[in-house]
Symmetry: C2
Subunit: 196 residues, 2 copies
DNA sequence: GATTTAATGTGAAACAATTCACAAAATATG
DNA sequence: CATATTTTGTGAATTGTTTCACATTAAATC
């Protein structure tokens, strides 16, 4: 958003502008900026240029993050072709699948077989992996990854991965996201957060 | 999870079992069940069979929910082929795209052009739509959908949709999910929740 | 059948997040 | 240059969520 504004030639933004565009309240925006020592001007708002550089260093978007993608089924392939990741500084250095036929896929990426994992993780010192494999193999793949040095996992499979506490896991469930909207629409009030 | 346990012949579960498998604490599980009047037995835990039927009626998974999918790019196609949705009672009744060539896609779904929207939303009384179109067309598509009676939107585009208050929107950003893991791994402490 | 054990169910306490309210600063206006 | 206006920055109040602690129940054991 700030990128767009800056590109449009806007030099300053106000907390309420950012809030409207991002779904937060102006107070939340200011509190969060404040906590990370990002300062604005009393009356002139925030400078888009300064904001951009502050946020780049804060999120460390200045250098690209190398990640690997394991599992080249439907979702894996979609992620591999997903433009936005590059723009956000997320660089998929390699993709993997047990099935060598997935190599035929229409992705520009080469799909490696699992036995090349070690080599590539080491070569690019990759710390984060995206797991988009079927549930049955998720835990197995996950354990392998951790052994090879992976310390962060974005898990698209619907199983709770068992990991040591020094590994961070983010579980993303597309079904849950859709189901929660269905729930809201049907009941028009807040439902339980629990999906088993 | 409960489905699997029940299929395996397990007749009772404890709150701590469910907690471990789902990433919540036992207290959270019990509180949530309690709020929705799902009762267990003071020593025998919860009956999987009863749980299953209670949850089905609670989430209204007993009948299928009809949704439509707009935008058959990479992500759209992946979602259209995503098995898990069916299992969760989410039924994609039709898919749409402005580009008629997307009809050639390897999906079993027919891809309709946008002018069939009205007809199909009405015919199947669809209330929820999944939006996986490029950012530039997101707001436009969204407004059309609402005019046609859609009341819930799962938004995969990176723009904040402007909607009337009777419409519920769930914004899902795959980049954010990945970036947050990168953040955690790099800093090993909690970062800001704000991504602009 | 008395006692121990293992679980639920739920108030109360602790903690976290959000909103409110307003002083301080900087610009704009007359 | 005095006054009004706009916006930040942040304590204080509110609201929401998670954890704790324990009474209650039912089964298991002795």
């Amino acid at each position: 958003m700030v990128v767009r504004l800056n590109a449009m030639g806007v030099t300053t933004v106000f907390s309420h502008t950012l809030a409207e565009g991002s779904g937060f309240t102006p107070e939340q925006v200011r509190k969060d900026f404040s906590e990370y020592k990002i300062r604005g001007h009393r009356r002139g708002g925030y400078s888009t240029e300064k904001l951009l550089s502050d946020m780049e260093s804060l999120f460390k978007r200045d250098r690209m993050s190398n990640v690997i993608l394991v599992g080249m089924g439907n979702l894996g392939q979609a992620l591999a072709r997903y433009q936005q990741l590059q723009q956000r500084g997320i660089n998929i250095v390699a993709t993997f699948d047990i099935d060598p036929y997935k190599q035929k896929s229409r992705t520009e990426y080469q799909v490696y077989s699992m036995d090349r994992l070690q080599e590539i993780v080491e070569r690019f010192s990759v710390l984060v992996a995206i797991v988009a494999v079927p549930d049955i193999s998720a835990q197995d793949v996950c354990s392998q990854l951790i052994d090879m040095g992976i310390r962060g996992i974005v898990n698209f499979s619907p199983v709770m991965l068992k990991v040591p506490e020094f590994v961070v896991v983010n579980n993303v469930s597309l079904s849950d996201e859709i189901e929660s909207v269905i729930w809201f629409v049907r009941s028009l009030k807040k439902g339980p957060t629990l999906y088993l």
